[in-house]
Each structure stands twice: as C-alpha cells, then as structure tokens.
Subunit: 219 residues, 2 copies
Amino acid sequence: MSTDSTRIDVAETEMTSREAKGKAPLLADPPGQVDRKSRGFMGLRRHAGRGGGYKRGIAIFDFVVRLCTLVAAIAATATMATTDETLPFFTQFFQFQASYDDLPAFQFFVVAMAIACVYLGLSIPLSIVSIIRPHAVAARMLLIFFDLGMVVLTTAAASSAAAIVYLAHVGNSNANWLSICQQFNNFCQRTSGAVVAAFLAMLGFMFLVVLSAVILKKP
Amino acid sequence: MSTDSTRIDVAETEMTSREAKGKAPLLADPPGQVDRKSRGFMGLRRHAGRGGGYKRGIAIFDFVVRLCTLVAAIAATATMATTDETLPFFTQFFQFQASYDDLPAFQFFVVAMAIACVYLGLSIPLSIVSIIRPHAVAARMLLIFFDLGMVVLTTAAASSAAAIVYLAHVGNSNANWLSICQQFNNFCQRTSGAVVAAFLAMLGFMFLVVLSAVILKKP
C-alpha cells in the first residue's frame, strides 16, 4: 500500500527537518509531501493524508448499509411479486383471485423495487472502490446522486402501495370503496409486509445519502 | 486554533526544506497563508481562498430554487386544502359532498405539504447565511439533512395522493372500486393539480440536495 509507505516517509522527513530546527512536533500533517507522492488513481488520492481512516470507516459502514438495503429491497420485491391468492369458492363463470397485477400501484411497486435491487447490485462495486479510495470524490458524487434517485423511487413505490393497502384494509365510505381484506386476507397480509420492507429499504437509502454527505464534506 | 497554527508551521517547514534542496515549487497552494487571514465566523471560512466564487454562485442558485419550491409547496397545500365540491342535487337525507378530508391520503398530503412550507420558510435564513459564508459546512450539513427529509415527506405525500387520484379517475374493476370522477369532476381536477404541484416541490427539494452535495464536496 503506497499510502502507508508515504506516511512513514512523510513522518521521517518531518522529524529530520524539525530536529534540524530544534522544534517539538505539534501535529503531523504535512499536505505538500503527501500530495507529491500519493497522487494515484485519476488524481483522486491527493488528500490521502488527512482523515483517511475515519472516512474509510464510514465507507465500510456505507457498504454494510448497502447490503442490508439490498436484502430489504429483494424481500419487498419478492413478497409483492409472488402474492397471489385464489379464493376456495367460485361461481360457474368466475373464480375470485387477487394478485399484485390487479392494482396499478402494486405493479409500479414491483417495477420500482426491482429497479432498486438492480441498482444496489450495480452500486456495490462502486462502494468497494470507495472503501479502497475513500477520497474518490467522483465516485462518491455518483453514489449520492443515484442514491437520492432511489430514495425518491422507493418512497414513491412504498407510499403509493401503502395508500392502496390502507384502502384495501379499511375501505372508504365517502367514496363508496369497500374493504377487500375480509375476502382476501392473505393477500392483504403479504402486501402489507412488502410495504413495510420497502419502507425499510427507503430508510436504508436515506442513510446512504447522509453517509455520502458526511464523507464528501471537508475533513 | 491549534490545527491552523500547525498547518502554518508545516507549510513554512516545507518551504524551507524545498529551498534547501534547491527545488522549484510545483503547485502554488500554501494553505497556511490563506488560513491565517480568513479565519472568520466560527472558523467556518478556513478554506475561503479556494473556489469561494463558484460556491457562492451555487448558494445563490440554492436560494432561488428554495423560493420556487416554496411557491410550489404553497400552491399544492392551498389547492388541496380548499378543494370542496358539493353536488347540485341532493336527496331528502343526504347531500353529496367531497372534500379533501374524506380521504386519509389527502389529509396526509395537506399536513405533509404544510410541514414542507413551514420548513422552507424557516430554512431561508439559513440559506442566506450560506450565501454570505459559502464554506459554512455545519449550516450546509443541516440543510442537506433536512432537505433530504423533505424529499421523502413530499414524495410520500405526492405519491400516496397520486395513487388515490388515479383510483378516483379510473377506478378498479378487480377490487370493485368505482371511479368517482364522473360525479365529482371539479374535485378530481383540483386534487390532480395539487398532486402535480407537490411533484414539482419534490423535484425542487431533490435539486436542493444535489446542490448542497456539490457545495459540500472539496473544491
């Protein structure tokens, strides 16, 4: 690792120059020396000497939160997409069945959460790059931008589905929309679970944006 | 502040060591000199020498976007809250009337958008502080954090209301929920307008978060 060797080098240089002047070392932070030697990948490690440790810690935390969010998003998508209830009784012409694609809000939910899953899968390599190079501003800006988009997408999916799930549970007498959860009890249970998982994924994405902002700010 | 004095010390040390070695300076960026002079309000202007102009430009843009978002949020709240349609015919026992508080999603919409309006009003002074001091990291972190919360709140309000407005427009034959827009046409028009305004406010908040991230990143 070139960062480590740079640091050692810097410490030595500083010690000798200070010894020559007879000064006591206050705090070891010589930016010039670090800049010259550790100008690495795309010039992104220029500030590698300052606050690298705590930024790397946050980047690792970011990676863990990203994995948890992926789990929540997959759970939400899978639960909603496999929801399919057929009632045990039927008439001569019609069998009562409920599935997620009967309601447009649930279709949107499945599509949006699937997009979130794919994005999370694709962003994991970028998150790993961000652990190796904690000062890669370009990668971090890309992550904060797309994470924000995913906050909006998952919030929209979760809340529109929540509005419909709520309606399915309690109905609305003013608009004369009756509750369907007496008949399709299992369907309502599963969609409610999917909505909860989607809200967890939303919280995960919000946390990722905040972490990225903390990493972006000056040390 | 001990960090500043350290940097000055380091810069000087470095200069002398370079002069002693007979090397030409590579990049003229002595942070110590800037730090010593522009140490302003709460130590927030420590990096005021670099990129101050373009950051101030973005901060002014942030202020303008904030005002536009406030207009959109007020429009959304007012349109939804004043929506009240009474049908011209009535029976002996009942008069047909539709107002926003007949539907829980619209109640949530009004409350959430009102919160967004109040927040925007309160955040304008902080935004002005941020124009005067473009490097105020603490104020900027506060803004990005609350702006993100407002992105989520407005998205949730707009999309849950949109799900209900869509249902009111087209109904759903699978769940046996009939459209109410044939009867309450004016009500549907106004709520749709409020939802569109809320989505505009959401875009405004998203833009504010991105602008804050650009300001936060290192120059």
